[in-house]
């Protein structure tokens, strides 16, 4: 009778069977044992902590909320060398790799393009717990390390600062990284294999999609740091060279009312009650600036092309470096300026960004970029003849296809030993309607393209600055004058003869470094299939 009252009830309110009862008992026992074990561990831990010599020398730092300003100088890793030997320094970097045994732990600290080895071993002041803590810090965490710089006898092959190492005295975690990384920085830094293979000798590579999905991690590799610093260098040299020649930087609108050139490859945006377009190129506004007497202008800004091309060299959004210049009598004056500008950029990169070029070459080896000074300028009929001699069947009034351009690049390289050249005098029929025809022979036009490593980087021409002639040419191309009325009106009140061109910044960097995909030189690339990050 007493049993019936004391029978425990299961989850469904009915009295539990014997089996369930037994199971419950067993679970309770297990839980009790676990609690006891944990208690024992905690006790042991406390005891060990009490014995920990280096209690204050390591740990997770309190989140830096700007509560204090310690008088501490953090040495940049790139500056650490034998000059700091035997000195005690503070260093902040990312934990790139760490390998720990019981008694010691080897780590590599990384900061942008530089890496340095740092080690910690059990000693008088360093306890076992500290070494254990160090070995357990998750990769990519930001750490502050205090230690002494020591010269090494044997070079540390895997680090950029290969002649020194740090013996850690204190280590604190400034910002912890989640333990499971979607990609390892080491894997992302390995030189790529041919045939798109993903693994070699147990050392995996990271494929492009993974990189782009986890762009923040991918950008931390030393190679990417170098690529984008070099890209900044290209922009800086572009600006500096042109400013020194008297150019003025302008900024043109990107939301425009009429699709400028063909109307085909533009993005539409909703603009209050109507629609607007994203600018396909700053062409129209550059020319308006010339008509507004700025004479020499350049602009650095976004360019949007709604081309559904999924190739290694197309993006839907990229940075355009455009320039336009009024000339006195002949468009070759402008051609000279553009050619000289490129030479200055190449020379400047070679002089001031050699470290970056070497870093990139470690992961993406390529032949150094060759060029001639003054720039080599060939004419279209010459190029067609070279292609014909090499077996390509084409007439001299046809446009060059991409494979022809690549072949021409190789032929020019063979004959003139240059990766950069200008092709002048394109046939008129393959150029846009606003291109000025050649005065002596209307088959040709005053237009030019520039090539790097066999790929086109700039398309430019002398523009028609006379509104009547422009209307004629537009009609000859079958364009409805009403759609380009605003464009023709820009020249109504007198406009000097002018010419110019535009280059894609990412493409120039890609071709200069010999990279194979434009996404490697675009920070957060946009293509028909990618909108984030």
């Amino acid at each position: 009778m007493a049993d019936v009252e004391n029978v425990p009830l299961g989850d469904d309110g009915k009295p539990m069977s014997k089996k369930a009862l037994k199971k419950q008992q067993k679970d309770a026992e297990k839980a009790a044992k676990k609690a006891q074990r944990q208690q024992e561990q905690a006790d042991a831990q406390q005891k060990a902590d009490a014995d920990d010599v280096s209690k204050d020398l390591y740990g997770d730092m309190v989140m830096i909320q700007s509560s204090e300003k310690p008088d501490r100088c953090l040495q940049p890793i790139g500056d650490i060398g034998p000059n700091l030997a035997e000195k005690n320094i503070w260093v902040r970097g990312r934990l790139h790799t760490s390998r720990g045994t019981g008694k010691q732990c080897f780590t590599v600290l990384r900061h942008q393009q530089s890496t340095i080895q740092a080690l910690i071993f059990v000693g008088e002041k360093i306890s076992k717990q500290m070494v254990k803590f160090c070995a357990n810090i998750s990769k990519e965490s930001i750490v502050d390390v205090y230690g002494v710089v020591k010269k090494v006898e044997q070079k540390v092959e895997s680090c950029t600062q290969d002649d020194v190492e740090i013996h850690i005295g204190k280590i604190f975690v400034v910002s912890k990284a989640a333990p499971q990384l979607p990609l390892l920085i080491e894997d992302a830094s390995r030189p790529e294999l041919e045939d798109g293979k993903n693994e070699e000798g147990g050392r995996p590579r990271v494929n492009l999609d993974t990189r782009l999905d986890n762009r923040i991690l991918d950008l931390r590799t030393t190679t990417k740091q170098a690529i984008f610093r070099l890209e900044a260098g290209v922009c800086k040299l572009f600006r500096d060279t042109l400013t020194a020649k008297g150019f003025c930087e302008i900024h043109t609108p990107k939301i425009i009312s009429a699709a400028s050139e063909g109307g085909a490859n533009v993005f539409t945006v909703s603009y209050f009650k109507t629609n607007a377009f994203l600018a396909q190129s700053p062409q129209l506004y550059k020319q308006m600036a010339i008509a507004a007497d700025f004479e020499k202008v350049f602009t650095v800004g976004a360019v949007f092309r709604a081309e559904d091309s999924n190739t290694h060299r197309h993006l839907t959004e990229f940075v355009g470096l455009d320039l336009e210049m009024a000339f006195q009598y002949h468009y070759h004056e402008v051609l000279q300026v553009i050619g000289d500008m490129f030479i200055s950029i190449f020379k400047g990169l070679r002089e001031s960004y050699q470290k970056e070029i070497t870093t990139v070459a470690r992961q993406y080896p390529a032949e150094p970029f060759k060029f001639l000074e003054p720039t080599l300028i060939l004419q279209y009929p010459e190029a067609v003849k070279m292609l014909n001699d090499a077996g390509v069947e084409m007439q001299d009034n046809e446009d060059l296809s991409t494979p022809s351009e690549k072949l021409l690049g190789r032929l020019v390289r063979q004959k003139y030993d240059t990766d950069y050249y200008i092709l002048d005098k394109y046939p008129l029929e393959v150029r846009p309607f606003y291109t000025m025809p050649d005065p002596d022979n209307p088959k040709w036009s005053n237009s030019y393209d520039m090539f790097m490593r066999g790929e086109e980087i700039l398309s430019g021409a002398q523009r028609i600055h006379d509104p009547e002639f422009l209307s004629e040419r537009a009609k000859a191309h079958g364009i409805d004058l009403k759609t380009i009325e605003a464009y023709i009106d820009s020249f109504k009140y007198g406009c000097p003869p002018h010419a110019g061109g535009g280059i894609g910044m990412e493409r120039v960097v890609m071709l200069y470094l010999g990279l194979h995909n434009i996404r490697s030189s675009s920070l957060f690339p946009r293509d028909p299939k990618r909108l984030t990050p």
Binding site: H330, H332, F346, R350, F369, K370, F371, L372, E373, P374, L376, I377, L378, Q379, P381, E382, K385, M386, D389, A390, R410, L411, V412, Q414, K415, Y416, D417, T418
Partner: protein, 274 residues
Amino acid sequence: MYSAKPHFEYNSTNVKLPDVMYKASPMVIICDNSGDNNVTQELTSLKQRQSDLLQGLDDMIERVNKMKSKVTTTINKDDNSEFRDIVIHACPSQPPLSLKYLIKMLRQRFKVLVKVHGHSSVTNHMISFLANEETTNRNHYDIIITLIWKSAPNDPTTHLHPSSSPIVGESNLARLVGRMLGYYDNTPASFMINTTTDVIYDACDVINNIGSTKKQRQDALQTLGGVLNNNQWFMGKVPTIVDCVAFSTLQRCSTTSGQRWVAPWLERAKQMFG
């Protein structure tokens, strides 16, 4: 008891002495028509194939001849079209001293444009050697000479077509220019001249070649001395492109001791080509 015939009695009619060591069956079988059928068939079919091929060849020759008469050969201008752009790669430490004179000679017959570029591999662009000319239309010229200063080749290397192998050395460049100027026209008068010039070019090549031994160089110098033979210039009283090549070679040659004609000739040449 036994009677044996005397074996030493020799009668030439009895004994037939062999006149060969070994006798072998004849190797050659003379085939007559009544012989093996297979062999005959193969032979006839082979003969037929041969006559067919010869017939086809005759047809082709006839067709080519017919086409030749239809297609008119292009005139002089196009013959030079393959010489449109002559690209010379040279090292600033060994400038092609004959180039200026070669250009001068070419200018007597053609419109020549001279372009000079410095390659990214060198800092010294040798501005004073040859001046870069600007033009707005390359098509106006018959010949364009593009000189590129770069660090690699020791001997000036000339490129005509990307697909053909480059022409190495100044003497070969001079031969090319000579061809463009019509020197090698295969008339009996020019045979003697061309042979002499070849001797001189070859001697220059030997002197220029890094691999030549001292003796070879001395021999070459002696040959040149012999050809010069106390004349003013190698081909007589008037300087020719041969002289400018010799000038470039001797100017660079360090070991001309023992050849007394070199120094005074070089002085004269410097005035002419320098």
